[in-house]
Structure formats: structure tokens, C-alpha cells
Amino acid sequence: MKKKTEFLQALLIVALILGLWEGAVRVLRFPPYVLPAPTRIFVTFIQDFSLLLYHSSLTLLEVGLGLGMGVALGVAVALAAFYVRPLGRALTPFLVGSQVIPVFAVAPLFVLWFGFGIWPKAAVAAMIVFFPVAVNFLDGLQAVGPELVEFFQALGTPEPRLLRMVRIPAALPFLFSGLRIGATLALVGATVGEWVGASRGLGYLMIQANARLRLDRVFAAILALSLLGLGLFWAVGALERLLFRRR
């Protein structure tokens, strides 16, 4: 009941903003190459749907590849840092400090190194996902209490089995909170990568449309990007609920 009213409230606010926007554009007669009206953006979104779908799928592919690589690398580094104490101590300041690196500034370098294909964008996305996953998963591994672990250690359970039975399941929620932060940011990262140099993808579409003063298409692409972001956020949440369904 409460959720429903909250949702209605949010919907009302969005409607209000869109209404004001629409009214301002019509009354003040903004030309569409300065600020298109929401209705016009919506029409463009429908008209360009197949175009948007094509470019979205490429961006999504880049993000998917990036997520896969970033999570794999993040998990591997967290495990290494957990088991090799000196390595962990050496890495921790970097992992924490890395949050301040403007990953977007690195995007042009990646294009330089990996070319114009999907890989530099996937690499930017991977880099964005890597840090929160590594930091959070390491946190999770370190937070597993002795009361869960010592029962098995006393039984003489080999560490690989202990890792599988206790440590990883206990640390997974932490990994997911890192992934939730990372997944949506990775989408932005991939788009920025496309701005720098690409021949396909939503970022490329936005740059092209912007150059031609097709602001309605830029906004339509932003709308597509937002929907993708929401979808990713929801997908991570759904995967999480599936895994921890009965906790």
C-alpha cells in the first residue's frame, strides 16, 4: 500500500516536470534544435525505435562484456588479496584510492590502445565494474565471522571447500552491492567510450545527432540509455533475488 502511493507520487512528479517542460517549450517557442518538447522526443523515440534498438544492442554488448571481465577480475583480485595477506595490505590503498580516478578520462587512451571496436568500451566498462566488485567482495570475505568458519576448520575441512561452502556464499551479497553500483556506471562508461571514437552504439548515435542539431534524437538516445540503465539495475536485483530467494 505504502509502496503504491510512493510510486504514484513519483509518477506525479515526473508528469509535473514533463508538463512544465512541454508548456515552456510551447509558450516560449523554443526551436527544437535548442530544446525539443517531450512529446516530440517521444515521437522521435517511436520513429527511431529500430535505429535505437540496433545501437542499444551494441552498447549493451559492450557493457555485458565489460561486466563479465570486470566481475571476473574483481573476484580474482579480491580472492588473491584475501589469501595472500601482504598482497592484500599492499593492494587495499590502491583499491580504495582508485575510486577517485576519473575513469572517463582514461577512455581516450583505451581507444588509442584497443582501437575503435567494441573492446575499448568493454575495457572502460570492465574497469568501472572492477573496483566496486573487488573492494566489496574483499570486504565481504573479511567480514565472514569466525563463528561460521571455525566449526568447519575444526572438522579439518580443506580451505577450497570452506571457500565454496561458507566464504563465497557469505560474501556474495557484498559482491552484489558492488555490482549494482558498477553495472549502471559501466553503461555510462561504455557510452563515453563511444563518444571518443566509435562507428556504432548509443554514444556514437548521440554524437552524430548532436552534430546535426537533432536534439530530439539525442534525447531519445538518452531515454534509451536510461531504460537500459534501469533494465541493468533491475537485472542485477533479479539475479540477486533469485540467488538469495530464501534467505
Partner: protein, 248 residues
């Protein structure tokens, strides 16, 4: 009878910034196979350290610990203090984990676990997750899990410490039931003298830190025991007296 667990002159100290803090100062005792021994002592006297050493999780600076003549690690089932169940597993899953710790679990083991749950009144809760159970039920499941492990020696660290008095008494009686049908060697650490007396064959008292053995009290009464029984109450007074004396 064989000695299941034997500690000889165990000394242990923790390093602290101001130098080593001596926790155990020469603790020696032996537990016979099939015996239930409880250790009582003031809180913070090193009872948990003693159990962790007996489980092979900590190593004494001096002295030896043997389980059936060998180092203890891998030979005992140790139930730490606190919430020890895996929250993502059901009661049945948690109990099976005690065998999974040694390798794959087959259908027969599963049936065995279900039978154990049923025998001790927990079959209704087999599919329940720890957070769906009351504190008393969670500790029953955790205790059954410890009994279900393929080990002959069990070490229990304050398993009923967090329960209210009524539930505690209930679980104590239940635990006596379990132990009488699944005979194993048990060392229980508790600060509840009455609990030790209701369950054990022998009660050992420790001095305050650095801990040493203060006294040993055999409890030769048939089970189930009445808490109000005059002999239980007499022993209780004697143990409390010994504990108070050790404090000076």
C-alpha cells in the same frame, strides 16, 4: 576406558602491546571416551581459548593437546559461541553441512539426517531457514549438526548462553536426551553451574585468568536429573563455593 581428550600442562598467552597476556597457566585434564565433562569458570577466564586449543584452532606455547593420542585438528566437532548456522541453508542443509565438510553427501546420509531431526522433534523445521526459527530452535539445530558430524569428540562453547532461563532448561533436558542416544565424548564450556550439573558426568572449575584447574566434581546421579534434587543443589553450592575461593 580410553582417554579421548588429554591436555597436559597447557600454557597459552596472547600477545598485547604491553607484553604477553597469560590466559592459561598449566591446564591439565583428561576426558574419558563417552564421558561428558563440563568446564565452569568466571567469564573471561579463558574457557573459549581452552576449547579452541582443544579443537586445534590455536596452539599452546607450552604443553600438549591430544585427541586419541593425535593432534586435535580435524578430529573434533567444535561448536563456537554465537549464531553458528549458515543463514542461507535450511535446518536440514545446515545439518548435512557437517558431513559435506568431509566430502560429498549421498542419499543415505540425507535420510540419516532427516531421521535424526525427526527423532529429536525437529522434523517440522527441516525446511526452515535459521531466521525463521526461534533462538532455542536454532541452537537445537546447531547442536544436532555438531552431533551429526562424523567425530567422536564434541566441544561445545556456551551453546545455550543466549537463551532465556525457561528455554534454556528445556534445551538442556533435550540435550541430555540426544546425548543418551548418540553417545559421544563431550566437553561443554558454560558459566551456568546448574546446567553443568544437570548434564555432566564431571564438572571442572577454573580459576580466574590466568586459568588453572581449581577443582573437579564427579556427578554420580542418574539422568534425567531434577534441578531441585538435594544432591544437585548440594553440589551446586560446593561448586559455587570453590569458584568463590579460587577468586581469592
Amino acid at each position: 576406558m580410553r582417554e579421548a581428550l588429554k591436555l597436559s600442562q597447557v600454557h597459552f598467552s596472547f600477545p598485547t602491546p604491553t607484553g604477553p597476556l597469560s590466559v592459561l597457566a598449566g591446564v591439565s585434564f583428561a576426558v574419558r571416551e563417552g564421558e561428558w565433562v563440563s568446564i565452569v569458570g568466571p567469564s573471561g577466564c579463558g574457557k573459549t581459548t581452552l576449547l579452541r586449543i582443544s579443537a586445534g584452532l590455536l596452539f599452546p606455547q607450552h604443553g600438549t593437546v591430544e585427541v586419541f593420542g593425535r593432534p586435535p585438528r580435524g578430529q573434533v566437532a567444535y561448536m563456537p559461541q554465537g549464531e553458528t548456522l549458515l543463514p542461507w541453508r535450511t535446518a536440514l542443509g545446515n545439518i548435512l553441512a557437517a558431513r559435506e565438510a568431509d566430502g560429498r553427501v549421498d542419499y543415505q546420509t540425507r535420510q540419516e539426517a532427516l531421521a535424526l531431526l525427526a527423532q529429536f522433534g525437529l522434523e517440522k523445521f527441516a525446511k526452515a531457514f535459521p531466521h525463521e526459527l526461534s533462538g532455542g530452535m536454532r541452537q537445537r539445530v546447531a547442536l544436532l549438526r555438531t552431533f551429526f558430524a562424523n567425530r567422536r569428540v564434541l566441544l561445545l562453547d556456551e551453546p545455550l548462553g543466549a537463551l532465556d532461563a525457561l528455554t534454556r532448561a528445556e534445551v538442556q533436558d533435550w540435550l541430555v536426551d540426544v546425548w543418551q542416544s548418540v553417545r559421544k565424548t563431550v566437553v561443554l564450556v558454560t558459566h551456568d553451574v546448574e546446567e553443568a550439573l544437570v548434564i555432566s558426568d564431571r564438572v571442572l572449575t577454573l580459576t580466574p585468568r590466568p586459568a588453572r584447574l581449581a577443582a573437579a566434581f564427579p556427578v554420580e546421579l542418574p539422568r534425567p536429573r531434577e534441578r531441585a534434587h538435594s544432591q544437585v543443589q548440594a553440589l551446586r553450592a560446593a561448586i559455587l563455593h570453590a569458584l568463590a575461593e579460587a577468586r581469592q
